[in-house]
Amino acid sequence: MRNPYEVLGVAPTASAADIQKAYRKLAKKLHPDLNPGDKAAEDKFKEVAAANDLLSDADRRKRFDAGEIDADGTERPQHRYYRDFATAGEGHPYADSSGYADYMDQDDAFAELLRRSEQARANRRGRDLHYSLAVDFSESIAGASKRLTLPDGGTLDVTIPPGLVDGQVIRLRGKGMPGSGKGGPGDALIEGEVRPDPRFAREGDDISLELPISLSEAVLGGKVNVPTPTGAVTMTVPKGSNTGTTLRLRGKGAPKVGGGHGDEFVKLKVVLPKGPDPALEAFVSNWDRKGFNPRDDGAS
């Protein structure tokens, strides 16, 4: 690199203020973004910036003056200038045609060309908008129609497809930001957030549920009401059911891709009445099945 004092055009005795002044004067003229058409500006600017980096650091300037370091190796790390994007990039939000808008209003071939190129750029599709929507568990299985209120006060009617899984994105075509010209609007992308239901758990297309039953229902069997995402149904508990016995309600799960439905698995749980129950105690004292030990697996 050239002598940094020469680059900035200052005397070796120049004050820090003089150096800053000289640098600013040159940098303003040479900054690549203020000279988008000058390919050489970048190299010139870099040289000036590097000279300034060295001389504006009192410690490094002293060491340079003493001959301890030279002016090399002070280049700034490479970064891309705004001019590299601003002219080439299509559709960035900073584009401004007001510098030649008056020419486009004229009635001649030149204006026609300008208008045409403006139009080519103007036909841009609108942006997609992202939303999220909370959905109840039962709605996620059975499907639903929901109305989404937008931050700007507008609304969107969203059809929740049956069997929606948590995080699934529903695309509403054309409900995003308006496009410009013939670009057409963007889409609204709605992410469904399924609110868990403490009763149900979903595994793939099947759902499972734990159903409390009474001792008599377990021993004698009977008909019980079972909740499903689409409403309660009646199910027969067979005689002699136990905690852990799992029954299947066919077709009460989530819809399957390609038709049909998953199943609902009902896991029974025998629940004794709360608190002391003298009648039950008296009955069990009399009920004595010799030799039954549920912890005996028959190995002993």
């Binding site: 640098y23 600013r24 940098a27 303003k28 900054h31 973004d33 203020l34 988008p36 058409g37 910036a49 970064h79 891309r80 200038y81 705004y82 001019r83 590299d84 994007f85 601003a86 002219t87 990039g89 960035h92 939000p93 900073y94 584009a95 401004d96 045609s97 007001s98 510098g99 030649y100 030149f110 060309l113 300008l114 045409r116 190129s117 403006e118 080519a120 750029r121 942006r127 997609d128 908008l129 992202h130 939303y131 999220s132 937008l150 931050p151």
Partner: protein, 91 residues
Amino acid sequence: MNKQQFLIDAGLEVQTLELWVEQRWLIPDETAHEISFSDTDVARAHLIRDLKGDFGVNDEGIDVILHLVDQLHGLRRAFEQLHKDIASPPR
């Protein structure tokens, strides 16, 4: 890129960024839920930093400069398109 990455790449504090976005010096892609930045935004932030830091331009000056720079690039774009159209005229 997300906000965090942008702050690193552009070397900005979050308060500065908010101010610049408020002034419309930077126009990131904003939706209801997220904000994202392009390489163009990074390069533009570097330019604003150079203007404010190295050149001592005040906020009013930045407004004027950015507006003129944007118009200049608009012109260059139109000029480029014209150049192409003249070289191979559209039917």
